[in-house]
Amino acid sequence: MRVTRRFWLTLTAIGSLIVGGGLLDAPLLVVGAVGLAGWLLAMQFAFVRGVSRLKDELTVSQSLDRSRIRTDAETNYTLEASVNAAGDHLPLSIEAQIPLAARMEAGPTPDVDLGASMQSSSVTLPLTWETVGNYTVPGATVTVSDGTGLFTQSFTTGPGPEITVESPSVGPIHVGQSGKRLLRGVGEHDARGRTGGLSAEEIRKYVPGDALKYVDWKATARLDEAHVRNYEAESNRSVVLVLDHRQTLGDGAPGETKLEHLKAVAAAFQQRAEATRDPLGYVTIDDAGVTESRVPVARAEVYRSCQHRISDLDTETETPPTATTTATHTGTMTGMVNPAANTQSPIEATLLAYRSAAGSKRHLPDQPLYNGLQAAPQEVRSADLLVICTDDSNPNELRNTVGLARRNATEVVVFITPSVAFDTDLLTDLDTAYERYRAFDQFRRELNEIDSVTAYEVGSPDQISAILSGSPANTDQRGSV
């Protein structure tokens, strides 16, 4: 209960009457003071009773017209309050707290005032959600005041509705090889016996103490001697996303850039990893080097962190907090490998590219993707599945990066956005575009032929179809019509 200035004024008046009564030896003043104090107490009792009743009679509801929304989209938020009382009730105001991720347009504030004789009231206003994530609208704050302005009391209602804010979609995406779309969903992978549970490791002779349930009866019958089958617990397979967000990934129409397409692919892997509880890590790289990295861990906060990181990626160069690669105890590493700051002479740079001393890390000039992966923690490089999302603007660098990934990781999947599919003036010269696509596809096939490496093209289905329509077969058909 919070008391107001009016309450303190009354208390001061009571105190003054008592002091005056004592000093002037005037019992009438003290009688008046006691009467006033009794009145104050009676008013407080009535207020306490009124608030207790109101708590049961008041219904506050908060609602959103959608439970799932994309960033920068608008939802209608409604705050509604009603009092189920036969007569008047204490006047109250209800103030809602909008999550920080939501932006409120200018207009009515999210609060509702219910006068003593008002039974219900509501307010609806549009909210724009700016940040990806799951949010719960906090409980509204109800403030009740008494009719005389002596007391107020605030309490909070239960939490409001939940909403999931997702990153905007780029529409249909082509993921495939040589113009053919991938049939399996992006992010899905073969179990390969590594999805958890137990797998048989070896059969060995029975030794006293082995549990009877592990005896392999078929092997025992075949070998005429008791044998047991050893099992080992399997771990889920770790997935690391290597996300390139350099300037060249900004090519394409606004909202449909290379990066937007690759973000959708990466988001699919993130969702898949979360669904199967696979340990997930990521490395993001821009022109200045590694912008953020996280070792693979199967924890909810890592999935959220990865989701937010994917959503926030853009092609603007980020300024890392430190100039050198650092690792913290939490497993998060933020740093930079800056080949642009190289002060080596051309011959030094060339020699550096061929240096491969045992135990030393080889940094290649002007190849931040390669250098970034090289500088990443061992847990990142040695993931079971390394997913590289990049473009074909520097084939040599990508070749080196895939080679490095293959040497460390068990399996490598490369998603490449062909630059030709993101040229805005593509349709003006389809023949040239097709030739460029062929060169790209040859490069993709080259990567795909590396053992345990799978390379996919990613782009807009319309653009890929348009390019393929420039193939000689199609051109001949067009000519013969």
């Binding site: 019992p27 009688v31 006691v34 104090a37 009145w39 009676a42 306490v48 008047d88 009730h89 009719g147």
Partner: protein, 166 residues
């Protein structure tokens, strides 16, 4: 309603008429038992009441009463009864008027009578007796505050909510 109290009273509401009757009775009691200039005090009482500061009107009425030399029982009853009506009018203006009015009608005469008896008949020191009664009322007020916190299930381990009250 609180806005009405803060900005003054409407002369058309029944509680205000009741309160004004009380103020007129109190002013009459003052004039009846004391000098004529106390009629001016009655005017001030009415002004204070209509401006929404009933407590100040009651305080001024009590102070004016001691200006009356040996007030008669009639003037005493008129003044105290009138001021009581003014306080009662505020209580019946609240949303829960029945409960608030009954409480004021019960508690104020009871405590006032108790104070009058202890001071007039038992010859207790006014300051000590008043302070003792005030402390008792403060304790009851604090218990009511704690009860409300429990009722709303917002009791916290820190003393922040207590500080809000005291």
């Amino acid at each position: 309603m609180s806005m009405a109290l803060a900005r003054g009273r409407s002369l058309q509401s029944l509680p205000t008429v009741l309160g004004l009757l009380g103020i007129v009775a109190a002013a009459g009691g003052l004039v009846l038992g004391g000098p004529v200039w106390l009629g001016l005090v009655g005017v001030v009482l009415g002004g204070l009441y209509l401006s929404g500061t009933v407590v100040l009107a009651v305080v001024l009425g009590q102070i004016a009463l001691i200006a009356v030399d040996a007030p008669s029982l009639l003037s005493l009853v008129l003044v105290e009864g009138g001021l009581f009506l003014a306080l009662l009018s505020v209580a019946v203006e609240t949303p829960d008027s029945r409960v608030a009015g009954n409480l004021v009608a019960l508690v104020v005469p009871l405590l006032g009578g108790l104070a009058w008896l202890s001071l007039g008949r038992l010859n207790l020191d006014p300051f000590r007796a008043g302070s003792a009664l005030l402390v008792g009322i403060a304790i009851v007020g604090y218990l009511l505050h704690r009860y409300l916190l429990l009722e709303l299930d917002i009791v916290t381990e820190d003393a922040a909510s207590d500080r809000e009250f005291l």
